[in-house]
Symmetry: C2
Subunit: 141 residues, 2 copies
């Protein structure tokens, strides 16, 4: 299991394809990012650039922290900031031809891992949930 390539059939099906991943661009204003985060219900989502390359990730907590300085959150100030000013560039990524063991190792400290193609473009995401589901199926046998 550990050494199978993540593009083996069984594991490839686990990946959430890029078209189903909620994401924002680094040049988007923060009010747009907060809207996408609240609507999707996710804690954190990937940030891509215009060429679909992974730049980092952004979370609701980061957006709220950046402007929570005063008692009220001033929603109108959100539009003046860009995602790139608040996001973290520390997001785990791996290549589509690497092993399941690598995805498992990265998922220990990160809720999701971004999967990249040969030209480093974003092709999908591996979540802790899908990794745990596969392991549970394998241990069960």
């Amino acid at each position: 299991l550990k050494d199978s390539k993540i593009m083996d059939n069984e594991i490839k099906e686990l990946m959430i394809p890029h078209e189903k991943v909620a994401h924002v661009q680094s040049t988007n204003p923060l009010d747009h990012a907060l809207l996408v985060l609240i609507k999707s219900g996710y804690t954190a989502i990937p940030v891509l650039d215009t060429e679909y390359k992974v730049q980092g990730q952004i979370s609701k907590a980061q957006i709220l922290d950046s402007i929570l300085g005063i008692e009220r959150i001033e929603m109108e100030r959100l539009h003046d900031y860009k995602v790139s000013e608040v996001m973290t560039s520390k997001v785990p990524r791996m290549h589509k031809n690497e092993t399941f063991g690598k995805a498992l190792m990265l998922s220990i400290n990160h809720p999701f891992v971004c999967i990249e193609d040969h030209d480093q473009s974003f092709i999908g995401m591996m979540t802790r949930r899908s990794i745990l589901a596969l392991i549970h199926r394998h241990l069960g046998r």
Copy 2:
């Protein structure tokens, strides 16, 4: 691995003991809960009652959703609500003498699992992180 009891030495060390778990009580006001959530940095934390029994869990998103109805978040209204009015009671729990397989199964759809003693009092939490770290150690051999 799957059938070992979660209180086997190796697995017991994985559990975060209750004194290290950030939590609130169901009777606490929401402004207190938001403060604990923001200070701890966690997405969601357990809610206990006065007898240290698990009542549910509460997240930043739930608190913000409950009052986001208008443009500005009115911080002063937070004090008027109780945690019990906003929390979700759907939180996975298991008994300290159950198996690792059960903790793994519950962690597929939940970021953490609450561990209870014979009298159902809260003794600690198993996180996806600790489950993935143990699996990675075992698969490595």
